[in-house]
Amino acid sequence: MPTEVIHRVEPLIEGARPAEPAASSPSRPVRTRGKSPTAIAFARLRTDRVAVICGAIFLFFVLIAIFAPLLAKLEGQSPTAYHQELVDDYGFPTIGPTSEHWFGVEPRLGRDLFARWVYGSRPSLIVATSVTIITSLLGVVVGLVAGFAGGWTDRILSWVIDFVLSLPYLLFAIAVPAVLLSIFVGPADGASVDQVSRVRFISLILVLSLFGWAGLARLIRGEVLSLREREFIAAARVLGVPTSKVLFKELLPNLVAPIVVSTSMALPSYIVVEAGLTYLGVGLTEPTPSWGVTISAAQSFYRADPLYLWLPVLGITVLVVALSLLGDSVRDAFDPRTRR
């Protein structure tokens, strides 16, 4: 019985949304089955030239990150091997880009720059993607529950949301890993480098997730507050559809737009935060190859070895700009009010 109810309710939701463009064009016969708002948005996105180019750039970086070992093998170098023979007594590399070292080698340790660059794209994407997924899930669940339950549950959750939003998260992002590090690794001198870098990696994801979910939760709560008064929800509840089904089968499909938009905006911002914190020395550490680490190390060699600095700078800039522009396009595609 309940499944039948849902089938009857769903077209109603779609009908409530803006009509699909095909229905108004005279050349095509009017079809009874409409496209979902998400399908419309993706169709818009496909015709957006900026979005397609930026998406391609993002895909390019994802492929680099996935195939980093393969690319390094193609070049024949590893990101961790030292080449002291290619570095002079003052730490400056004696070679530029060669057929053996495509982007040259690092000052001081002489590690291969190309291999470190391709591997360096990994932590940015891994940290940003995991944080985006965790914060989106957490934000959606908390927002759904707070908005739908109402009463004291809502009051408490809303207070927590406001509380998290009013914390100076950058300062916490520095302070919390310090404590975590000291709990899990112990006194700074005794820990091995690998252990420190692993704890740093996990604590970075943890801290960013802890502070990142509240914005989306507030947004979702607001949407749910207005949606739950609509007829299709009232109908579903009256017919005795279980609450979890109302939440995830009825409400959630209507929240796709804000979720997708906020996710696509969050991803580039977490890449920036990861690289920024790592640059400050509070994020990831050596020996993890990461663009943030490289930028901070390369600053002192910006004249002698510009490639050392500019590779990670360009990598992160191009990636983040492409993702932000893609995020803007996604927002425009999902928002029927915007025209460009």
């Binding site: 509380f163 009013s166 302070a175 580039p268 700078v313």
Partner: protein
């Protein structure tokens, strides 16, 4: 109105108190060993016990946090090797590594951060509103598209990357360093110019877009049409009539941004070598100086909460359309 303000103040205080207790629990009650860190590698049991007792780490947690709160409100005494030191209220303890009161360190760092943020704000408000207005006036034109296009791109470039590149390559700007404003205003300004311009011009991109949107809306209003029909010069219509109405939303965003920047000026400070709150936090992180870390986090929370409160209250006073819930 009064009831609303009272409610907001109570909730603001509750946020600060919870932050205080939570971060105290995190920093001082978590199973970490600050005494061991201070004691270093050549440490014996007696010395360790002495450090513990001088830090109050041997007391039960409730007394520790009670002592900390008492320190903030009325000040407290510390006994180190038999010597009693009085720490005036608001006392946030002593830095483990520098031996100075945390309050003093914060008081030294705060003016630096405030100088950077306020100076930057002047730059981005000026350029943002100017570009936004120009853009709105020539909506759809070449200048508009160039300004908006570049502002979108500038806005998405990671800020710290811009700051690093400016600090390294733009050598025409005077060397960055901090001099107190009162001792020498000229040196103060010249030492901060690089930071101001970097912070200001990158943020101006966002403000260009805010003011453009706000200005376009305001120029479409009836009062602007009336002003034009009265024969007032276009410049006066735009800058006197339109801009005044367009500024309210921009100022609201500015209020919220300002709070975020006060606690987030860390990149500017670190990259330009200015010893503000962010740099103090970083130093405390690297040396595991818990009282200083705790002090920075607390100060940051108080600043954020107070700023949000002020923005909310000012907004309800300024804009009669806002209904108090």
């Amino acid at each position: 109105m009064l009831l609303y303000i009272l409610k907001r103040v109570v909730s603001a205080i509750s946020v600060v108190v919870v932050t205080l207790v939570a971060s105290f629990a995190l920093f001082f009650l978590a199973p970490t060993d600050p005494a061991g860190t201070i004691c270093g590698t050549r440490c014996n049991a007696d010395r360790l016990a002495e450090i513990r007792s001088s830090l109050g780490l041997d007391e039960p947690p409730i007394e520790q946090i009670g002592g900390y709160m008492k320190g903030i409100l009325v000040g407290r005494d510390y006994t180190t090797s038999g010597v009693v030191q009085h720490c005036d209220a608001p006392c946030l303890g002593y830095s483990y590594t520098l031996g100075q009161p945390v309050t003093k360190l914060l008081a030294q760092a705060l003016p630096v951060t405030v100088s950077i943020v306020l100076g930057g704000a002047v730059v981005y408000l000026f350029f943002g509103v100017l570009f936004g207005t120009l853009s709105a006036q020539r909506r759809g034109g070449t200048l508009d598209r160039a300004l908006i296009g570049s502002s979108i791109v500038i806005n998405s470039i990671p800020y710290f990357v811009v700051a690093v590149l400016v600090a390294l390559y733009v050598t025409v700007l005077p060397h960055s360093e901090y001099h107190p404003l009162l001792s020498n205003p000229l040196l103060w300004a010249s030492g901060l110019v690089a930071a101001w311009l970097t912070l200001g011009l990158t943020n101006a991109a966002a403000y260009t877009r805010y003011s453009r949107a706000s200005m376009i809306e305001s120029l479409g209003q009836d009062f602007v049409r009336t002003a034009r029909s009265k024969g007032i010069s276009e410049r006066r219509v735009v800058y006197r009539h339109g801009l005044r109405a367009a500024l309210t939303p921009v100022v609201t965003i500015f209020g919220i941004d300002l709070a975020g920047q006060l606690t987030g000026a860390i990149f500017t400070e670190q990259i330009f070598g200015l010893p503000g709150i962010g740099v103090l936090t970083l130093r405390a992180f690297n040396q595991y100086d818990l009282p200083v870390l705790m002090g920075c986090v607390l100060l940051g929370s108080v600043v954020l909460v107070v700023m949000n409160l002020v923005v909310d209250i000012v907004y309800t006073v300024l804009d009669p359309r806002v209904r108090l819930g």
